[in-house]
Subunit: 400 residues, 2 copies
């Protein structure tokens, strides 16, 4: 059942629309803001006055148009608020402190021991947050909240991770509430690819508006979906499992129980097994950054394996584009820097040659602009976004 | 860039919210409407008065609660407005006239000659609409508009079909504007599966709220997506090409140019070819309704072929659910009545056993409640829906 909309809701929504427009345009006048948002100059002026009072927006310089008075330019006060983002990857916990502009002001990492119990991972995670906040010189009370990005399936409602990869025996763990209780801060839990997509949207501003998929290559293969400028999480918070799109129903058995999943072919572990697995020298490539180094060094076997991985990624992406008719695909992930350009080129060529509606639109496939720490930055930006960006749903009356 | 929201926009949105609530609940009081929509009793009362003035809502009976005055019940005036829906299928053009309650009040069909030119199909289509309106006893001016549902790729902006199946040499044809010029009515063009999904949402009311995919099995395999109560069309109006999700990247060559597309295995033409194609007796099964009859008659080969088709559909649906994390899948299509129950059962079992987030939610897979003519009814309901249902985007100021 749809809810109606009423005055106070509209006011708070318009406030976020104005704030978002100030964020997207570097230096913008009130007149320009009214044009861009469709709001009256009076409404914009009132909202801007309050944003300045709250220290979220600052006046910064003037510009002289062809006629009339010079116009005062407005900018976001990036240092006004911060959020913490944590990428909970079983191999490494990365924690960043991010300001309102999406800039990382401090970072800390911790390495969980293999097979860690939930309680020790919660402690590790809390220590990483405290360490990053200490480096940033920020007290917890000046922080809006903490976002945790986790691989694998989650229960968004309960804030639980469900059997995370490489941590056997975890089952369901209420990570969100356990961390919140220890830190005394609001905590949100999201899929890591969703977080990375939101980071791309937040940092990329106007160049990442509209709809796109962020393909996140890490230990597995995830995909964050931004549809019409909103995060799309699905009914249980598990949308975007591109790694479990089957490219061959009679293919390899995947750890999820299905056959032919993309992840069973292009996860770093699967690629390493294809390259010879345990027969490789102990120093052989293990993850995307090591594959990238081997390609740069001219290793022909690894180069062929990467070409094949890009090709399989392209196969699944054609299906993704056929289902969602997306105008843009972003590719990123842990250690992927040296490979993202060639992967993007392969996927872009295939999608525009093979997708069903190739006559109707061109799909742009491009490496991430966020780079390393995308999921952690994204987790922080999800906190900032939910506090400071307009959500259409926020226009609606609360459910009683 | 997000647009702001202002007073008149909110008023018109709330009007649609109230109308939608009256539509979804059979017989509802003003007090109940205020509760359901979150609007104040005064706002609801004002909106209802105007809806009654416009003949969209009627008072109908009273109910006595535990205390206080008896409450007047409100119902939608189903006969107040009508829309025409046309399913432009190359084998048969189906035209229905639908009232505000989603009920079909008249129907007409026409069979295009194979290889028809665009101009003669436009004439056929216009005649079908005129014939259906004549049977309904409605003048064109009492009709809100015409929705056309078309298979294959479309250009939503230009209102063009792009190379429809079984009509070689068409290229791009501006079907929307050609039909609008001939009928003097507003015309919209949509994908047939999208239209069927919207028909299911419109007719199903509360039982089809939220998010679902409508898998439409006809000449090909389409899929309409309703995400958070809104039609999701994608950037060019071509979302939902489930038939072109590849289930085997080294599999059969599809007419789209890609390999292993679901449609290359489970379109009626592909199934017939697998059954022996031209060797079959001329009266052998050709489409879903004939397959269904053969299964009902106990034909073991066709029964095996249907089991295999359901299984392949399940394979692709697991990928769909892994990507979109949907709580519900609806299965329908031309002539599928006798098969929809068994297909739904196969797909439901597989999705809940194999999807990645199976631990986080149960997916319901169910036959359509709209049945035959789903795409035509859906095309009409898209017209009614865009006129009378709340769209969040309608809250936003116009782009200048």
């Amino acid at each position: 059942m749809r809810r109606g909309s009423n005055g106070p809701r509209v006011g708070s929504y318009n406030r976020k629309v104005v704030l978002d427009a100030v964020r997207e345009v570097e230096g913008v006048s009130r007149v320009e803001l009214a044009k861009r948002t469709g709001l009256t100059p009076q409404t914009v002026s009132n909202i801007v006055r309050r944003l300045i009072d709250e220290d979220l927006v600052v006046e910064s310089g003037q510009v002289q148009g062809l006629m009339g008075k010079p116009r005062t330019l407005l900018r976001i006060n990036e240092a006004a608020y911060h959020a913490v983002g944590v990428h909970f990857d079983p191999h490494e916990v990365t924690c960043v402190v991010v300001d309102l502009g999406g800039r990382v002001v401090a970072r800390a990492t911790r390495t969980p021991r293999p097979g860690s119990r939930p309680s020790s991972v919660v402690t590790l995670l809390v220590k990483a947050v405290e360490s990053a906040l200490g480096r940033a010189g920020l007290a917890p009370e000046s922080v809006v909240g903490v976002g945790i990005a986790s691989p694998g399936a989650i229960d968004a409602v309960g804030g639980e991770v469900i059997g995370p990869p490489n941590l056997p025996g975890w089952g369901r763990v209420p990570l969100r509430d356990n961390v919140a209780a220890r830190l005394g801060l609001p905590v949100t839990l999201d899929n890591d690819a969703t977080a990375a997509a939101m980071g791309e949207r937040w940092v990329g501003g106007a160049s990442r508006s509209g709809s796109f998929a962020y393909i996140y290559l890490g230990t597995g293969v995830g995909c964050g979906l931004i549809l019409s400028d909103q995060v799309f999480r699905g009914s249980s918070g598990n949308a975007g499992e591109l790694g479990h799109v089957s490219i061959d129903v009679r293919g390899r058995l995947c750890h999820c129980g299905n056959r032919g999943c993309l992840e069973a072919y292009i996860s770093p572990a699967a690629i390493r097994a294809d390259l010879g697995g345990d027969d490789l020298p102990p120093g052989g490539p293990q993850d995307w950054s090591e594959f990238a180094r081997a390609v740069a060094a001219g290793d022909p076997r690894v180069t062929r394996a990467m070409d094949q991985a890009a090709s399989r990624l392209a196969d699944a992406t054609v299906s993704l584009v056929n289902l969602l008719d997306l105008p843009r695909i972003v590719i990123g992930g842990r250690g992927l820097q040296g490979l993202a350009v060639s992967f993007s080129a392969t996927v872009q060529a295939r999608v525009n040659a093979h997708a069903m509606a190739r006559g109707a639109r061109l799909v742009e496939v491009t490496p991430t602009i966020v780079g390393e720490n995308a999921a952690a930055i994204g987790a922080a930006s999800l906190v900032l976004h939910s506090s400071y960006s307009p959500h259409l749903a926020a226009l609606l009356a609360d459910v009683p």
